[in-house]
């Protein structure tokens, strides 16, 4: 038997078992009270029918009075049970559906906590979109499994069980005749619901594409106009818009079948009941009142059939979503904190790498093809950086620079070989302690939607405004502050002001400077900052770097020329090592690279994009160029 993903939810269900149990009891009560009504109505009709056949005279009046009383009592009971039923119904929904929202809340909480514990390598392998899809779409689908789906199934099952039971006691033959077409209609409802749901999802995706195309076209309208591309651009949009219409109509086709079919089910069942009931009423074994009760019941049973199809679909979808969510929840935490980890009081900053190799798993392919073998991205790398000195690392894109940095910053696992900090193997050191003392400034830094100063003070909760100011000044971010609407208090990030690449890099640098790390790693940090500013930053950094170990990663040699030693990485291997002068004198790959870069120096202006008002920008997503 295959593993039931639902079992994963058991601990969550258990937490709220009281609420679920109460809700279920109320549910049974609700259904029972609903089913009382048709019976009472039929019964009252028979009481009234008796009057017509009764003899005239006094007997008749007293019979009439008695029948009137009975009918009034039945009507009162109907009203009473409707009232109690409404209360019970609300209570059962609040217990079951309300609890379902609580369970999903707990599940979301656990998923997020797990995400904070997953190693950076997990986030490198899995893109943001995939994780968001787990946390949002899959979570929505799972919500059904935490209450609504089962409540609906239970409700329908109870309705059929109790309802059919009552109907069979009234008249088994008529009942069996009348419910005979139900299985076919349930099957049909199921298949149509499937078409509708899959179609709606496809239409939704298609609308997303339409929306993307519009955003892309509008963002690129300057380019489109200049090149006179309105025609092809419109065609491109029109194709997607037409596809969206087609998908919607596909859903409509199924919808137009499902709804009338279900109301025909009720009509058909009643007709069959009529055919079967007529001879029996004629024979006197079935009263007209009982027959009316049966019609009432048949209407009640036919109503949920259409929805049943959708419920089964959500059950399946929910299970699939659950599997994906628990894949994340059970994912291995790459670098967990362990009690036996060392947390020395201070760090000197001496760094040694011995025969380090790192493999990278290729990204999982979408079509489920067998994944290619892991690729070795770092190969037998060894070097030593004395405390307080600087090391430059140069190499092309893909040479392994960023992987090396990620390993040193304890974001990626050491696969083979050893890395020492102050002579201690880093696998014996607490990852949190290590990260606390290593300041990594990535090439494409991330800013949260918070004020600029909150972003700078991310790692230091008690940072004084003065310290923040100093860090901002060192990173040369202060010159940009007057351009921002509220200076350091400007909200930046996705929901705030969009900073340029250079500004973001400098903000990230200020963040690392404020942290006062023992080891500072600049991973191509100043690539989007113009030369002039870059030099100014590097000289401002000099006093900060004194007494700290600094690693400067760059693809331009000029950036690392002043480092105490330089490594040249190629395809994961250290191919050359020495000072800038030594390597130039050596006349090897480094010298060649330097020559090549010196030949293409003719960029006559800074590339910092602080002023985007003067550029024509191609469609690039959300950012509009005014």
């Amino acid at each position: 038997m295959r593993h039931r993903p639902l079992l994963e939810l058991l601990p969550y269900y258990r937490r709220y078992r009281r609420a679920y149990a109460l809700g279920s009891i109320f549910l049974v009560g609700t259904i029972a009270l609903r089913l009382v009504i048709p019976w009472l109505f039929g019964d009252a009709m028979d009481d009234l029918r008796g009057l017509e056949s009764a003899d005239s005279g006094d007997g008749k009046s007293s019979a009439a009075a008695r029948a009137g009383r009975l009918v009034a009592i039945n009507a009162a009971i109907i009203a009473g049970s409707a009232l109690v039923g409404a209360v019970l119904r609300t209570a059962s929904r609040l217990h079951i559906l309300g609890t379902s929202r609580r369970v999903v809340h707990d599940l979301r909480e656990d998923l997020f906590a797990k995400l904070t514990r997953l190693a950076p390598s997990y986030f490198l392998r899995t893109n943001t979109g995939q994780i968001m899809s787990r946390a949002v779409n899959d979570m929505n689908n799972v919500q059904g499994l935490t209450g609504p789906v089962f409540m609906y199934i239970a409700e329908t099952a109870l309705l059929f069980a109790i309802g059919l039971g009552v109907m069979l006691t009234i008249d088994p033959a008529v009942t069996l005749w009348a419910v005979a077409p139900f299985p076919f209609f349930i099957w049909r409802a199921r298949s149509l619901a499937k078409v509708i749901q899959e179609g709606s999802r496809a239409a939704q995706d298609s609308l997303g594409t339409v929306s993307d195309k519009v955003a892309e076209s509008l963002a690129g309208q300057l380019v489109i106009k200049t090149l006179g591309l309105e025609g092809p651009d419109f065609e491109r949009f029109a194709v997607h818009a037409a596809e969206y219409r087609r998908l919607n109509l596909e859903v409509t086709t199924a919808r137009a079948r499902l709804m009338p079919l279900m109301s025909w089910l009720a009509a058909l069942a009643i007709m069959l009941a009529l055919v079967a009931a007529a001879p029996r009423i004629h024979a006197g074994t079935l009263t007209p009142g009982e027959f009316v009760s049966l019609i009432f019941y048949l209407q009640m049973l036919a109503a949920p059939v259409a929805t049943l199809g959708f419920v089964i679909s959500s059950l399946e979808r929910g299970e699939a979503a659950l599997v994906r969510i628990f894949e994340v929840v059970h994912a291995q935490e790459g670098l967990p904190e362990r009690p036996e980890h060392l947390r020395p009081d201070s760090m000197q900053g001496e760094l040694e790498v011995r025969n380090l190799s790192v493999w990278r798993e290729p990204a999982p392919t979408a079509d489920g093809a067998p994944a290619p073998a892991p690729r070795r991205v770092l190969c037998d790398v060894s070097f030593k950086v004395p405390a307080g000195t600087t090391l430059g690392i140069v190499g092309h894109t893909g040479s392994g620079k960023s992987t090396l940095v990620a390993v040193l910053a304890r974001q990626l696992e050491v696969d083979e070989g050893r890395v020492f900090v102050d002579g201690r193997d880093i696998t014996h050191l607490s990852p949190i302690w290590l990260r606390r003392h290593i300041g990594l400034v990535p090439q494409d830094p991330f800013l949260f939607s918070a004020t600029l100063s909150e972003n700078v003070a991310l790692g230091v909760r008690d940072a004084t405004p003065e310290r923040i100011q100093t860090a901002v000044k060192i990173a040369r971010l202060d010159v940009d502050l007057p351009q921002l609407p509220a200076g350091l208090d400007t909200v930046v990030g996705e929901r705030g002001v969009n900073l340029s690449g250079g500004q973001r890099q400098r903000a990230a640098l200020a963040r690392a400077v404020l942290l006062e790390p023992k080891i500072l790693i600049l991973d191509d940090t100043l690539s989007a900052v113009d030369r002039h500013t870059c030099d100014a930053i590097l000289s401002a950094l000099e006093p900060v770097m004194a007494g700290r170990t600094t690693l400067v990663v760059a693809h331009r040699i000029s950036t690392v020329a002043h480092c105490d030693q330089v490594l040249l990485l190629e395809e994961g291997r250290v191919v050359e090592r020495g000072t800038h002068r030594q390597l130039l004198a050596h006349g090897g790959r480094y010298a060649q690279l330097f020559e090549a870069q010196a030949r293409e120096p003719d960029r006559i202006e800074p590339a910092d994009e602080t002023d985007s008002a003067d550029r024509v920008t191609a469609p690039s997503g959300q950012e509009a160029t005014p």
Partner: protein
């Protein structure tokens, strides 16, 4: 011809909250999507909506006719059942019973077929009308001028084309259009019930006002709860997205616990909003069900009293059991449209708001002004003249202060200057993305504003840094926007630039499909494609915004030689970033602060020792210093 007047900067540029000015702009209405009119059902709006539905009016009319027919068929079935009960079942009289059955079957089949067709026709009409509207709206957006886009956030415009049109679609699919059918149904029901038994009918209607009040009130709360939930959900998703993206940072700075706390608070708020929504929804369905059962009880009690009264007084009962049955089932039919009424009203309201926003956008007539008598001179030699050109972006400082220069046909001119010096603006003014605010730009002696815009943009070829590749093959991209160019011309142009060597790596050569955003080409190769595109059109004037991005040395050489080939025999205005390009030009214009400060050849300008020298030294001396170590 209207000249744009400077207005306040767009809100997203200053980072301030939406404080878009309600300034009048070149005679065109300022587009402000937030203003709402008081009435939700303006006849004006409905008329405009109708103009889109009109081509499909036969569908709509037929659908409505079918709707009324099927509603009638639905009612008729219960009427037949009443007949069966009164005539055949209660007296146990089977004579003619088969006819009743046959009628029931026929009526129910008619209802089934009619409803199928009705739903389909209505949705088809809706989808067709909305596709037309969507296409018109997109066309309209394409025509709007650059100044419009400067002050309108793109996100809002995307919303018009997507979510607002969705709101209109909801109107078709959720049955708002069928309100008319519901109305007919209700009127018919009231009429027949009154005819059947006026007294019992009036009693049966007693609950209706309660129903209307209760459902309207609860639905208001449901709606409010959903609004809160939606805004909290988007907040939660934004938080999640941000923290998933920046998780490495959260971990590097030891902020895991703080992030969990923050998320916990957002998550709790979300849960509370959800529970709130569940509560009101449960209440709504429970109350509706209860009131329906109350009506049944009421009919039974009062109907029973009527029958008993008749029997006691010895009169033949006016009210039959079948009628009693009919009252109960018809009243249930009555409830459905009434419960939906408040929901449909909400859908209708949001559809009208959406329609209002859409048509308001359609009313913006902020196009590039084109003279009715616009004509291009027959001879296209490629002589350019900038004459005292002045320009400022909306709300900004002047970026060009009286720039004047002329370019002879066939001359190659480089424009250099720091970022913000105004050199890209020259390009935008020449192609009329914006219009000059002072002075004039002339092409072959005629003001560019007197050209038909399309002809101007055909004569002035533009190659931009950012290359825009469409889906389709490489060949499709070569003649983009000019389908009239034959295959061999496009390919010959591409071959001249050496593109054949690049497409040689694909089995299908020039017929290789371009991946999304041109991912199967390097940035240098994409540049080359855009060169070839311009060459295929063969414009007399070429304006080129040279790429600043670094490409590998081999592609760089290919690009440089392609560039030479591309501008041969044409007037070229190049916003140059590479020294080799600048050196090869006939003349260099140096812009600073929106003014033309120097012009001349490379060596002349170097010798001058001015602004150009400064620019040149800043880059070059550094290289020299690094070379020495």
């Amino acid at each position: 011809m209207s000249r744009p007047a400077p207005i306040a900067p767009p809100p997203e540029a200053t980072g301030l909250a939406a404080t878009a000015p309600a300034a009048s702009f070149g005679g065109a209405m300022v587009y402000d999507p937030e203003t709402k009119s008081a009435g939700a059902f303006e006849p004006q709006l409905l008329r405009r909506l109708w103009s889109y539905v009109r081509p499909y009016r036969r569908h709509v009319v037929l659908s409505l006719a079918l709707l009324i027919g099927t509603q009638g068929a639905g009612l008729l079935q219960f009427f037949l059942l009443r007949h069966a009960i009164d005539v055949h079942l209660v007296p146990a009289e089977l004579q003619g019973f088969m006819w009743v059955l046959a009628a029931l079957l026929a009526v129910s089949l008619v209802e089934y077929a009619g409803r199928r067709r009705q739903v389909w026709l209505l949705d088809l009409a809706g989808q067709n009308a909305l596709l037309d509207l969507r296409r018109d709206l997109f066309r309209h957006l394409q025509r709007l001028s650059s100044t419009f886009y400067d002050r309108t956030p793109i996100g809002k415009l995307v919303g018009r084309v997507t979510s607002d049109i969705e709101a209109l679609q909801e109107m078709f699919s959720s049955g708002v259009v069928t309100i008319l059918g519901d109305f007919v149904l209700i009127v018919a029901l009231v009429f027949f019930l009154l005819v059947l038994d006026a007294e019992l009918a009036l009693v049966s209607f007693v609950i209706i006002p309660c129903l209307l009040v209760a459902t309207t009130w609860t639905r208001k709360h449901v709606r409010k709860a959903y609004q809160i939930m939606t805004s909290r959900r988007s907040r939660m998703n934004a938080f999640l997205h941000e923290h998933v993206t920046g998780m490495a940072l959260v971990q590097a700075f030891g902020r895991e616990a703080a992030a969990q706390d923050q998320y916990g608070a957002i998550n709790r708020e979300m849960r509370d909003a959800q529970v709130d929504a569940v509560t009101w929804e449960s209440l709504l369905s429970a109350v509706t069900d209860m009131l329906s059962a109350f009506t049944t009880a009421l009919i039974l009690w009062y109907g029973g009293r009527l029958i008993v009264g008749d029997v006691t007084s010895g009169a033949p009962p006016e009210l039959t059991l079948g009628t009693l049955f009919l009252f109960v089932f018809w009243m249930q039919r009555f409830f459905q449209p009434l419960t939906d009424l408040s929901h449909k009203y909400t859908v209708m309201q949001s559809a009208m708001t959406a329609a209002e926003r859409i048509f308001k956008l359609m009313d913006v007539r902020d196009f590039v002004p084109e003279r009715v008598d616009a004509r291009a001179p027959s001879e296209a030699r490629g002589a350019l003249q900038f004459d005292g050109v002045e320009f400022a972006y909306a709300g900004g400082d002047k970026v060009l202060h009286g720039v004047s220069f002329a370019v002879r046909p066939g001359e190659k001119v480089a424009v250099v200057g720091a970022t913000g010096s105004g050199k890209s603006t020259l390009l935008k003014l020449l192609t009329r993305l914006y219009d000059v605010q002072g002075g004039a730009i002339r092409l072959d002696g005629q003001d560019v504003r007197d050209y038909p815009v399309a002809e101007l943009r055909r004569r002035v070829g533009v190659v931009l840094q950012d290359v825009f590749l469409f889906e389709g093959t490489v060949l499709d991209n070569l003649r983009l926007g000019h389908p009239e160019i034959p295959d061999d011309v496009a390919i010959a142009a591409a071959n001249r630039l050496g593109l054949d060597r690049i497409v040689a790596r694909f089995a299908r050569g020039y017929h290789e499909p371009v991946a999304e955003r041109g991912k199967n080409f390097s940035s240098g190769e994409r540049q080359l494609i855009s060169f070839a595109r311009a060459l295929a059109v063969a414009p007399p004037v070429l304006v080129l915004d040279e790429a600043t991005s670094n490409v590998d040395t081999e592609t760089e050489e290919l690009l440089q030689s392609a560039l030479k080939e591309l501008i041969r025999g044409r007037t070229a205005l190049i916003i140059a970033h590479r020294l080799s390009t600048i050196r090869d030009c006939d003349r260099i214009l140096v812009l600073a602060g929106g003014r033309l400060v120097e012009q001349g050849r490379h060596d002349q300008l170097l010798a001058l020792g001015g602004r150009y020298r400064e620019l040149y030294d800043r880059e070059y001396r550094k290289q020299a210093a690094t070379a020495e170590g």
